[in-house]
């Protein structure tokens, strides 16, 4: 049986109330609620890693069994240079893992899902990890700016121990211009909405959903939940009315709490459904973008065991949040306004040869444990700081390590985007010490010596024409 073995999401810590945006421009919110906003040090790669970690954690990090990685997004940091390799390195996936960037369409997540389903052999070994994230911008002052949110989702696909089986697929492509970004666009472009909804979303989606039902001889009432993406909440409701779906079976789009997260949107909704699903539940998944992918999933008995071992994926992350101080902060984080640069000189940045040498240290977060005295070093050293043994270390992955604040300062002078920033020294519980900036920190004044933290993968800077990533501590929820 081929299906989903594990699932997870990454919802950024920060939120922006739609009211704050509307208030700034003068008007009323385009939709109720708030949207999740990537922190200044997050992007599609880091959110994909965040979701991927949560997904693997739920299965006790069986990294070595992963044979393929699909990274689905429309907002990769690089146009040329694969982003899945950054994710694979951060997740420390095995070297033979087949890595794919799946992009350019809001269907990218379900395209990856179908491809994984098709390529999974019933008796083959190796699981497939799908990570999806998006990080799209609407024009300041426009409706899309309010509607679009940031986030990521992940699915682990395998052929045994599945919590939901994949039982069918039906889809079409449609060359239809409703929303797009060319190489020149920072913001999502869209055509006049009467046309794009009546001839696009609201015509093509019902057609494919009916096609799926017909193909498998099913009716809407056979499904416990209908999960579909949508441009916004209004069209989501209109689609439900069009196909005559009862309200209670239509899954939450999470637009009011997270926003429309693009490629990740359908995975976030699916995760929320799986959080409360029961064995035997039949799910219909329909994902729109340059056509439609529609899939049938059936929840298995395995869901009970999975839930015993893991807490819910979506709800805790919805609760763990901080309201951005202002709309201006959002514009600053996305570099949509130019702010007074720091009068501090910026740090230097590593060059490609240095980055390559430091892949395992910097991106996979491997430290070195002395075989003589067990002292853990991060970054790794050639000579032990304690017993001076030379080149006698074993590698230890520290990215999953928890830790505690040993000391800290709140720095108002740093050239970081966020000022003040909390600068911490962390003692890792398994041994080792790291010094870095604390991210996703609610109130700097409340950080204390002894506070527990975990490590999270973040974008450190854009410098020398390159994105630089690394691990930072953040408070444990």
């Amino acid at each position: 049986m081929i299906g989903i073995k594990s699932y997870a999401v990454h919802i950024p810590f920060l939120r922006l109330a739609r009211q704050s945006i509307a208030q700034y421009w003068g008007g009323s919110p385009a939709e109720p609620g708030e949207k999740a906003v990537a922190n200044w040090d997050e992007d599609s790669v880091t959110m994909a890693v965040g979701a991927g970690i949560n997904c693997l954690k739920a299965k006790s990090f069986q990294r070595e069994s992963i044979s393929e990685l699909f990274f689905a997004s429309t907002s990769f940091p690089y146009k040329e240079k694969q982003s899945a390799t950054i994710v694979a390195t951060a997740l420390d996936l095995p070297r033979h893992c087949f890595t794919v960037d799946c992009g350019n369409s809001l269907r990218a997540g379900t395209i990856a899902l179908r491809t994984a389903w098709e390529s999974m052999k019933p008796n083959g070994s190796g699981d497939i990890l799908i990570v999806a994230s998006d990080f799209r911008l609407g024009y300041p002052g426009g409706n899309l700016e309010q509607i679009l949110g940031d986030g990521g989702g992940a699915l682990l696909i395998g052929n045994k121990d599945v919590i939901a089986s994949i039982d069918g697929y039906h889809g079409v492509f449609e060359n239809f211009i409703d929303m797009w970004r060319t190489e020149r666009d920072t913001f999502v472009q869209s055509w006049e909405d009467r046309f794009i909804y009546s001839e696009g979303y609201l015509r093509v989606m019902p057609g494919v959903i009916h096609g799926l039902l017909k193909k498998y001889g099913l009716q809407l009432k056979d499904f416990s939940k209908l999960i579909f993406n949508a441009p916004d909440g209004r069209r989501h409701a209109e689609l439900a009315r069009t196909i005559k779906a009862p309200k209670e079976v239509v899954a939450d789009h999470l637009f009011n709490s997270v926003g429309n997260t693009g490629v990740a949107s359908i995975l976030l909704s699916l995760a929320a459904v799986l959080d409360t699903a029961s064995p035997g539940d039949k799910l219909l998944l329909a994902n729109y973008g340059d056509g439609v992918d529609a899939l049938i999933l059936t929840v298995t008995e395995e869901i009970s065991g999975f839930r015993e071992q893991n807490r819910k994926m979506v709800e805790p992350q919805l609760k763990r949040k901080k309201e951005l101080a202002s709309y201006n902060r959002f514009l600053t984080y996305r570099e949509l306004i130019q702010v007074q640069p720091s009068s501090r000189p910026l740090s230097s940045y590593p060059t490609p040869p240095a980055l390559w040498r430091e892949n395992r240290g910097r991106l996979s977060m491997y430290g070195a444990k002395c075989r003589e005295c067990s002292t853990i070093h991060y970054p790794a050293r050639r000579v032990c700081i304690k017993c001076k043994a030379k080149d006698d270390f074993e590698e230890v992955n520290l990215s999953g390590s928890l830790g505690k604040v040993f000391t800290l300062s709140i720095d108002h002078l740093t050239a970081n985007v966020d000022r003040p920033s909390v600068y911490v020294v962390i003692d890792l519980d398994q041994g080792g010490r790291v010094q870095n900036w604390l991210t996703d920190c609610g109130e700097p004044e409340k950080v204390t010596i002894g506070m527990p933290v975990e490590m999270t993968f973040r974008r450190e800077q854009f410098a020398g024409g390159l994105y630089h990533y690394g691990w930072k501590p953040r408070p444990i929820a």
Binding site: S343, P345, T407, R433
Partner: protein
């Protein structure tokens, strides 16, 4: 063996410290060296070799040879962060003690204010940031980590701890007000320091030293030559240097005692034969880039027991009238901190005090003076200590 009494400083010079917009780094070298040569009563042509301490301004020995047109002498740039000045002096002394040269020059110079930045500019070695060096780290941010841990470990109420630190700023500004070459020649009140804008709690603006242009120079020779030149000179009694680089990754590193200072000072004490530094040392010029630095340094130099510096500060023991005056010229705090120049500027004050030329700051009959320079930040220090006497 050792360096004790093998070298004499027969002349010293120091420029005015400050934001010297109208002077280049080369100008500063010329001015400091000119004063030192006049003081020693020798001509530039008599200089046989030279060392220039500079972290990021002078590049190579040409930083010394070019401004002075000292072409073809042996000249070397010395760099050990904020300890570069003492290191230049140490190299000069070692060369003289080894018998290689008779009369040499040690210069420290830094021209920080041309950078346009309000802090130090990063080293030119292109060290990558990342796990080794957190991006956009600042000096006050790093030292504030030490202060916060210090308060935590010794159970000091943070407000009281900040007040003790503020007293150090008040003391150093008072001392600086008595020196015509200091960057800040004005007193500050305890309340001003306490209420200054916070840079990185508990460090406020007035807990931080200045960003400064300046240079200082010393003429080093053998004691027998010194005697033939003039009657007032000082003798080098001892050096100690210690470099640490693992505190940031070592769970045993406590942030509140700085082993580099302990090690460097003990090396120097042993060379001089000092058993009780608090009693035997007459005055000290210590690295006070931030007030917390001076507070912790009192303890690590052995001037008072660990965790007790706050009480000693409150008793006034380190003021001009105290038992062990520290930073009698205002220190980095008020005199200013042109990185590579600071070690020689500190030596300049010890020189003037030992030779009774310190004017309104003059102490009564000082015998031994200590210089303490410290580069880096908690977890990774380059510390150099030098002790001088008559």
């Amino acid at each position: 063996m050792g360096i004790k009494d093998k070298c004499a400083i027969v002349g010293m010079g120091c420029t005015k410290f400050g934001e010297l917009w109208d002077k280049s780094g080369d100008d500063l070298v010329v001015e400091a060296v000119t004063e030192a040569l006049e003081d020693a009563g020798i001509h530039l042509k008599e200089i046989q070799a030279g060392w220039i301490g500079s972290m990021s301004t002078a590049w190579s020995g040409t930083g010394l040879v070019y401004p002075l047109s000292l072409d073809f002498i042996p000249a070397t740039r010395v760099e050990n962060k904020c300890a570069s000045g003492v290191e230049a002096l140490k190299e000069a002394c070692f060369a003289v003690a080894a018998g290689e040269y008779d009369i040499v020059l040690a210069v420290g110079m830094e021209k920080l204010k041309d950078s346009g930045a309000s802090g130090l500019f990063p080293p030119t070695s292109g060290l990558p940031s990342g796990p080794k060096i957190p991006l956009n780290r600042t000096a006050p941010g790093s030292y504030a980590q030490a202060a916060n841990r210090y308060f935590y470990q010794f159970k000091i109420n943070p407000e009281e701890g900040k007040r003790a630190m503020a007293r150090i700023a008040v003391k150093n500004h008072y001392n600086g007000s008595l020196h015509p070459k200091a960057q800040f020649q004005k007193e500050v009140t305890l309340e001003q320091v306490m209420k200054a804008p916070i840079v990185a709690w508990p460090l406020g603006l007035l807990d931080c030293c200045g960003v400064t242009d300046g240079a200082a120079a010393a003429i080093v020779t053998r004691p027998d030559i010194a005697r033939s030149l003039k009657k007032d000179y000082i003798l080098v009694k001892g050096f100690g240097v210690s470099v640490g680089a693992s505190g940031a990754i070592d769970q045993n590193y406590d942030f509140v005692h700085w082993e580099e200072t302990v090690k460097a000072s003990r090396m120097a004490y042993q060379e001089v034969g000092i058993r009780d530094p608090a009693k035997e040392i007459s005055l000290a010029e210590v690295h006070d880039c931030f007030t917390i630095t001076e507070l912790v340094t009192y303890e690590d130099l052995g001037f008072c027991p660990k965790g007790s510096a706050k009480d000693y500060v409150e008793e006034g023991g380190f003021t001009l009238k105290g038992n062990l005056p520290v930073n009698t010229d205002g220190g980095l705090k008020a005199f200013g901190h042109p990185i590579g120049a600071s070690g020689l500027r500190m030596t300049y004050e010890i020189y003037n005090q030992l030779l009774h030329k310190a004017g309104p700051r003059q102490l009564k009959d000082p015998q031994l003076g200590l210089v303490h320079c410290q580069g880096g930040q908690p977890g990774e220090f380059n510390c150099a200590v030098a002790i001088f006497g008559r």
